[in-house]
């Protein structure tokens, strides 16, 4: 089987091969060092002379540093000791229960809250990065009123007086526009506002709308349980990456995906989708379909499992297989769809009903609340705004001017509304058009409650006093309604029912979660659910679009709302599949690119709805032929320094006929421009050897778990031996601890949560688009994504020569994907250690390959000698070089620096850095144990990546402790799935991978290993 990281590598293009194993691209630095070329030598000498004198003078006097203690120290806050507070992350898309790590009163890291029955300690990449948004200097820092086209600061009392009098004088409807709100108390506050101003209506809309799903289920969002499903069929739902509640679903999904020699069963996952999504890349069987075909697929599936919906235009052998397996697993199967077409969702609901999945994998009694937006209501409001019947509109964290497909109409509507108020946290695209701006506090500065699922409550509590002169939106609404209470008191009173006693309340605040229900029912959907028959006829009656189809999708990092756009962590998080950072692009199938002679980076003009955007081409393996796709959430213009003008906004390309449909028919036209895409996919390419990553099939695993992994042997005079048997090195003896990590490739879904967790924990710099193109990204941890296809000449007999050759010709049509988290392997025989001329990288007595920044002189020998390419060099002072102020701004200001982890050095220019196994956490854990005069407990010391992983794919622990999880796991998997990447070079890593097992019927594995 051939593994490849990108199209360039697959094609072995000469330009690519030239630089494939170079660590960095040859960089033309002209734009960076123009001053150096023109500066004459004499100036240099002068400067140097002055510099030396200045340095001498500076070193004579030690700067006076102040130590400023508290005036009145809070009892539980001790300098340099971190406190954890339970809270909740929900910004209108995914819900995560979090623990906030606060150091000296400032939040520095978010971690999953294991108490939560929903996310159970997992945390998405977006939530991991959210702590940075707190210190975002792009937030509006005071109340403001628009005067002469610019917002001017006003004092709060005057602001409130003005708004109140204007609201009282409003004739016509008052509308509050927000994304989905799952906070019972917020809804109550809005209701109180509505009592004071009776013409008020609350309109919720979602930028990633699930209106169709809501409509099909009579206004509720079914709760799914993927852990109970043996067969999962997803029709375009990216439930592991972005759809509804990805962390919750990933946790469930992986329960049935983990295997061991005692549990040799797995769920089977079919995915029918257009663009290659995170979920699709994890599927056992992935079938590319056009967006317009999803309805036909649903109909065909409905027919095949016993429904009667008339004939469907779609046939596919995999669909037949999927239907057969679904029928064989009644009550333990699950069909989901990401489509926003009510007809498709009605059929999916009918399929689940037919299969008897209600009450097992689909739960309508405890539905999810995280999507409540009704597209029809929002569309109606937009029309009313334009008709002039709306007297006032309040935008509460809603940015329809940016993220609604009818943005133009929203814009014109706002101009016609007499009173417009924005509660958004910044003067964004919508907020800047409003007359009044009453910025909401960040959720880390606020009290709030949440009910993500009926019966499951959750709280957020302020961890820091508001950094700016902002006020919680709920409090603003209450004030304007004439209720001058604080929101805390309001919330507390509202919770009397759930927590009658102070002790119960304290427990709820401490745990961050509680059981009980408080959320009022969402208003009924404007449109009623369709019956399966009507839905079927609608689908089969739909006109088949001709032309190139566009699919709009959401990135794992940035949500379609665009609210995280100014978060540089997320902008630089490589997309799990394309590995692209900083901006969106037009993903096209290879066939289309070849036919049109497009190359990666060529800018194409995409036109639909009379609106066009210009985006560079990215050749995406697995993209359905005849389709293209674009990510939403980019192209902000008023997000802030880091987020502005990154990519293009594709929201106006969506169809708005029947709710928002994230697809359209587009025309493409090549422009003369090119625009490079900052992809990390082929960077840090490993040595070209086969056993970097290993996989096999479930069938083989069932047969004999000992044969799924290929162990390399090396030739010795005594015959073939395991590589570890032959060594020139002396082995280390580990008396105290021996830290090790195991990564289960079967559980890893590639979501990137660990990458952001690592970045936040270790003060890793953001480098920006140009430096990523130069292969200088600084992430200590990357997730390598390999494509592979199982077409092989062995299938000549079964499939015929012509077909096989055709398939072999284009392996990128629908490749398999495998993810491999790659960080420093902490080799016991580390090649980097031997080449360092100054002993800046050395081996510790606990098995860790230590990197001493203050000793490093930057020869980069170590990086050259690293077979895994995991070392990162600081080419610049990312914390002080003004070139990086836009992207790495948080390291430049006192405000932003508050997010840095004080236990980890900010690395200077010219030094090497790399994964340390979170040495600061190890040291802290050991110290705590020593203070309590005991050995550290297993699970007490975990790295940031292991801790953030929603699927528990990463296990970290002490391999010297025979009872630790990692020791047990490695004992169990030894000789079965456990392998070291590049075992034959015998560097003896302390990171062990477990072979990925696929539940697909690939003949390839069977033949290869027979």
């Amino acid at each position: 089987m051939k593994y490849w990281k990108g199209i360039e590598e697959l094609e072995s293009a000469p330009e690519f091969m030239q630089s494939a194993f170079a660590e960095f691209m040859p960089v033309k630095e002209s734009h960076e060092s123009s001053d150096a070329t023109s500066a004459p030598r004499r100036d240099f000498l002068k400067l140097m002379g002055f510099g030396v004198a200045a340095a001498t003078l500076a070193s004579c006097e030690t700067p006076v540093r102040k130590a400023i203690p508290y005036l009145n120290k809070p009892e539980e806050v001790d300098p340099a000791i971190s406190n954890f507070y339970a809270s909740t992350y929900f910004t209108g898309s995914d819900y995560n229960a979090v623990l906030v790590k606060a150091r000296d009163g400032r939040p520095i890291k978010l971690e999953g809250n294991p108490e939560s029955p929903i996310t159970r300690g997992g945390l998405s990449a977006r939530a991991q990065a959210a702590v940075l948004s707190l210190y975002d200097g792009g937030r509006l820092q005071h109340f403001a009123v628009k005067k002469n086209n610019s917002h001017e600061k006003v004092e709060l009392p005057a602001f409130d007086r003005e708004v109140r009098s204007k609201l009282a004088a409003t004739t016509g409807r008052i509308a509050i526009v927000s994304p989905t709100i799952i906070s019972p108390s917020t809804k109550k506050a809005i209701a109180e506002f509505a009592t004071r101003y009776p013409s008020t209506t609350h309109v919720m809309y979602d930028a990633q709308s699930a209106s169709g799903l809501l409509q099909a289920n009579n206004g509720v969002l079914p709760a799914y349980d993927f852990s109970k499903a043996n067969v999962i069929v997803s029709l375009g739902a990216d439930f592991l990456g972005t759809w509804i509640s990805p962390v919750e679903y990933a946790k469930q999904y992986v329960v049935n995906r983990k295997v061991s020699s005692t549990k040799r069963t797995m769920s089977r996952h079919f995915q029918f989708e257009t663009a290659m999504s995170l979920t699709g890349s994890n599927a056992d069987v992935r079938v590319p379909v056009k967006p317009s075909e999803i309805g036909a697929v649903a109909l065909a599936l409905y027919n095949a499992v016993g429904g009667n919906g008339g004939s469907s235009s779609y046939t596919n052998p995999q669909l037949t297989k999927a239907a057969a397996e679904l029928s064989a697993n009644r009550g333990s199967s699950l069909v989901v769809s990401g489509s926003n077409d009510p007809a498709v969702q009605a059929l999916v609901a009918a399929i689940n009903q037919t299969l008897g999945n209600l009450g097992t994998t689909v739960d309508l009694t405890a539905p999810s609340n995280v999507r409540q937006g009704d597209d029809a209501r929002m569309a109606a409001l937009v029309n009313e705004m334009n008709n002039g019947t709306v007297g006032a509109v309040i935008f509460y964290n809603a940015n329809p001017v940016y993220n609604h497909p009818l943005a133009e109409k929203v814009k014109s509507g706002i101009a016609k509304v007499p009173l417009t108020i924005s509660l958004n946290d910044r003067l964004d695209e919508t907020g800047s058009l409003c007359q009044y701006a009453a910025p909401d506090s960040h959720w880390l500065e606020s009290w709030n409650d949440f009910e993500p699922k009926r019966g499951y409550l959750s709280l957020s509590q302020p961890v820091i006093t508001p950094l700016f002169a902002t006020r919680q939106a709920q409090e603003s609404l209450l004030h304007w309604a004439g209720n001058n209470t604080t929101y805390y008191k309001y919330l507390r009173a509202n919770w009397r029912g759930v927590t009658p006693t102070d002790a119960a309340w304290d427990k709820a605040v401490h745990d961050g979660v509680a059981t009980g229900t408080a959320l009022p029912a969402a208003p009924a959907m404007l449109m009623a659910a369709l019956s399966p028959a009507v839905a079927a006829s609608q689908i089969s009656g739909a006109a088949k679009p001709s032309g190139i189809e566009l699919a709009l999708y959401e990135k794992v990092g940035l949500s379609a709302t665009g609210c995280e756009a100014n978060n540089p962590f997320l902008q630089e998080l490589p997309d799990p599949i394309s590995k692209a950072t900083w901006g969106n692009y037009l993903a096209v199938p290879r066939k289309m690119a070849v036919e049109n002679k497009w190359e990666q980076g060529d800018v194409i003009k995409v036109t639909a709805n009379g609106h066009s955007v210009e985006l560079p081409v990215l050749i995406q393996p697995g993209q359905t032929n005849g389709t293209v796709s674009i990510a939403l959430g980019y192209g902000r213009t008023q997000a802030g320094k880091a987020g502005d003008k990154v990519g293009e906004n594709a929201a106006p390309l969506a169809m708005t006929a029947n709710g928002i449909q994230y697809m359209n028919v587009v025309t493409l036209a090549k422009t003369d421009a090119t625009s490079p895409i900052a992809q990390t996919q082929t960077h840090q390419t490993l040595m070209d050897r086969k056993p970097v990553v290993q996989e096999n099939t479930l069938a083989k695993y069932k047969e004999n778990p000992k044969e799924v992994t290929e162990y390399e042997k090396v030739a010795t005079p005594d015959g073939l031996e395991a590589p570890g048997k032959v060594s020139l090195w002396q082995d280390y003896q580990y008396n105290n601890h021996h830290w090790g990590m195991a990564v289960d490739l079967n559980s890893c879904i590639g979501c990137g949560s660990c990458v952001i967790g690592c970045q936040a924990e270790n003060n890793i710099a953001v480098v920006g688009k140009q430096q990523v193109i130069n292969r200088r990204e600084m992430h200590w941890m990357r997730i390598d994504r390999y494509y592979s296809s199982d077409t092989h000449k062995d299938s000549f007999d079964t499939k015929g020569k012509v077909a096989t050759y055709a398939a072999m010709e284009d392996p990128s049509e629908n490749p398999q994907v495998i993810f491999q988290p790659m960080m420093c392997q902490q080799c016991n025989h580390a090649p980097c250690e031997t080449v360092c001329p100054v002993l800046a990288t050395t081996h510790s007595s606990e098995g860790i390959n230590q990197m001493t920044y203050n000793r490093c002189i930057g020869t980069r020998y170590c990086a050259n000698n690293c077979p895994y390419k995991v070392r990162r060099f600081n080419w610049f002072s990312y914390y002080s070089n003004e070139k990086f102020e836009t992207v790495n701004g948080h390291m430049f200001t006192d405000l932003g620096r508050m997010v840095l982890n004080p236990d980890v050095t900010v690395r200077a220019r010219g030094v090497m850095e790399k994964c340390t196994f979170c040495i600061q956490r190890i040291q802290l854990g050991k110290l705590e144990a020593k203070k309590q005069k005991r050995r550290p407990k297993d699970g007490e010391i975990v790295t940031a990546c292991a801790q953030s992983c929603p699927t528990e794919a990463i296990v970290f622990g002490d391999m010297r402790d025979p009872e630790s999880r990692i020791s047990k796991l490695l004992r169990r998997e030894d000789g079965e799935r456990a392998f070291h990447s590049l075992d034959s070079i015998n560097v003896q890593p302390n990171v062990t991978y477990l072979t990925k097992i696929r539940n697909s019927e690939s003949e390839f594995f069977a033949k290869e290993n027979a």
């Binding site: 001790d78 340099a80 007595s845």
Partner: protein, 446 residues
């Protein structure tokens, strides 16, 4: 005559030089003596007493050792703010409390003193009035806890160092070392006086000799019976010009000069960034000598997080107010604290010990786990009127200690197996910090 006098001047200068060289040497010796004190300070005596909660105080007054130990911790945590055992602080000295009052009186008093006063107990009312009607706060302690405190107090009664707690007991070691330093310093003074006397005597001797020499010469010149050779000897003069032009002389002087220059150069370069002895003026003239030295207030009473955190915090103003709401309220220095509190302006102390950001240091590791004394690194803090940086705080200084210092593995289950392993492999060699990986890079740099 004049020329004669002048001629003898070089001799005089030489003699003076010699005397000063001698004095220098003597001074150097004295410095060596202080250096010894320093090294003595680095090797602490009593490390066992470092853990406040479990420290065992000598059971002088009898009683259960465990109860006394528990009482010790409780006393420090609750009572030491206002009471000492043998000295009146904010409240009365508690020594002999069992003789003055029965336990049945003490228990309700500690739990709620105002109730006892209100109840009209004569002793209580007298006490209340004696201490300016200042109430003792109520303590939610159990009977057993109060009894253990009393047991502790009894055990501490009449000891040499009043109000000695386990910490202070340990600290007295440091104090002793300081005192030893003091005596040595005293001895140094005698040496100085002796030296000065010697120098004076020498000068007198030299001057006398020169005078005698000149007199003798004059006498000889007066004699007429001298032959040419004698006159030659008599009028012999040292050939300075030859000496000045001698290559050997020039070489020696040149080499010495170069060496001195080099030495001084290296020394001054090595001292760049070193702030040993740094003693900035603080915004409030707080005296550690008074608080830690004379009043024996436990370091951890103010530096609350020294046993649990990376940083040994500078106390917040509310800790000062525990005592200074009552004591010395008129002092202009204390008034600065009041002003800070009134204006909500925290006090900006000047930081003395500044480690570079690239070095990680954790106080609790050294105090709680290793059981080191504060004085080990901070020097005789109890004698410092104004605190200065006692140790060099260089990497060499850290590493040396890590190489030499045996690990404090006593009663710590973390180390049990390691000690066994170490002993089986290389018994005899001390189990030092570095033999457990304490000199590895990433122990301090990450």
């Amino acid at each position: 005559m004049n020329s004669n006098r002048l001629r003898s001047l070089p001799h005089l200068l030489l003699a003076l030089l010699l005397t000063f060289a001698g004095a220098q040497q003597a001074l150097a010796q004295a410095a060596g003596a202080t250096a010894d004190v320093k090294t003595q300070g680095v090797v602490p005596g009593a490390t066992a007493a470092a853990t406040p909660a479990t420290a065992t105080a000598p059971a002088a007054g009898g009683g259960d050792a465990a109860a006394i130990a528990a009482g010790d911790a409780l006393f420090k945590g609750n009572c030491a703010q206002c009471h000492a055992v043998n000295e009146q602080v904010v409240g009365p000295a508690l020594g002999g409390i069992t003789k003055r009052r029965p336990i049945s009186w003490i228990l309700p008093w500690v739990k709620n003193s105002s109730k006892v006063v209100a109840g009209g107990d004569d002793y209580a009312v007298a006490l209340f009035n004696k201490f300016n009607k200042q109430q003792m706060p109520s303590f939610a302690l159990s009977d057993k806890e109060i009894t253990s405190i009393v047991a502790y107090i009894t055990s501490q009664e009449g000891q040499a160092n009043p109000g000695v707690t386990a910490q202070n007991a340990a600290k007295t070691d440091g104090a002793d070392a300081g005192a030893a330093g003091g005596t040595e310093a005293g001895a140094g003074k005698y040496v100085d006086i002796l030296l000065i006397v010697l120098v004076v005597v020498l000068i007198v001797l030299v001057v006398t000799l020169v005078i005698i020499g000149n007199l003798m010469k004059d006498v000889l010149r007066g004699r007429k019976d001298l032959d040419g050779r004698d006159i030659e000897i008599l009028e012999q003069r040292f050939n300075w010009s030859k000496f000045y032009h001698s290559p050997a002389m020039r070489g020696v002087v040149g080499t010495v000069f170069a060496l001195v220059l080099l030495y001084e150069g290296v020394q001054s370069v090595m001292a760049v960034g070193l702030t040993q002895g740094y003693q900035p003026t603080q915004p409030i003239a707080f005296s550690h000598k008074l608080h830690a030295g004379e009043h024996q207030i436990n370091c951890a009473y103010c530096h609350t997080s020294v046993y649990k955190s990376k940083s040994a915090n500078i106390p917040s103003a509310n800790i000062c107010m525990n005592c200074h709401s009552q004591i010395k309220t008129e002092s202009p220095e204390i008034k600065k604290i009041y002003r800070a509190i009134e204006r909500h302006q925290p006090i900006q102390w000047v930081r003395i010990h500044n480690l570079p950001d690239l070095a990680y240091f954790n106080h609790s590791q050294h105090t709680q786990v290793a059981g080191l004394q504060c004085q080990t690194c901070h020097g005789p803090i109890q004698n410092m009127e104004v605190v200065y940086q006692y140790s060099a705080l260089t990497m060499g200084w850290c590493i040396n200690c890590h190489r030499e210092m045996p690990l404090n593995t006593k009663d710590n289950k973390y180390y049990d197996n390691l000690v066994k392993l170490h002993d089986t492999k290389n018994a005899g060699a001390p189990f030092t910090v570095s033999s457990n990986g304490g000199t590895e890079c990433s122990k301090c740099h990450y």
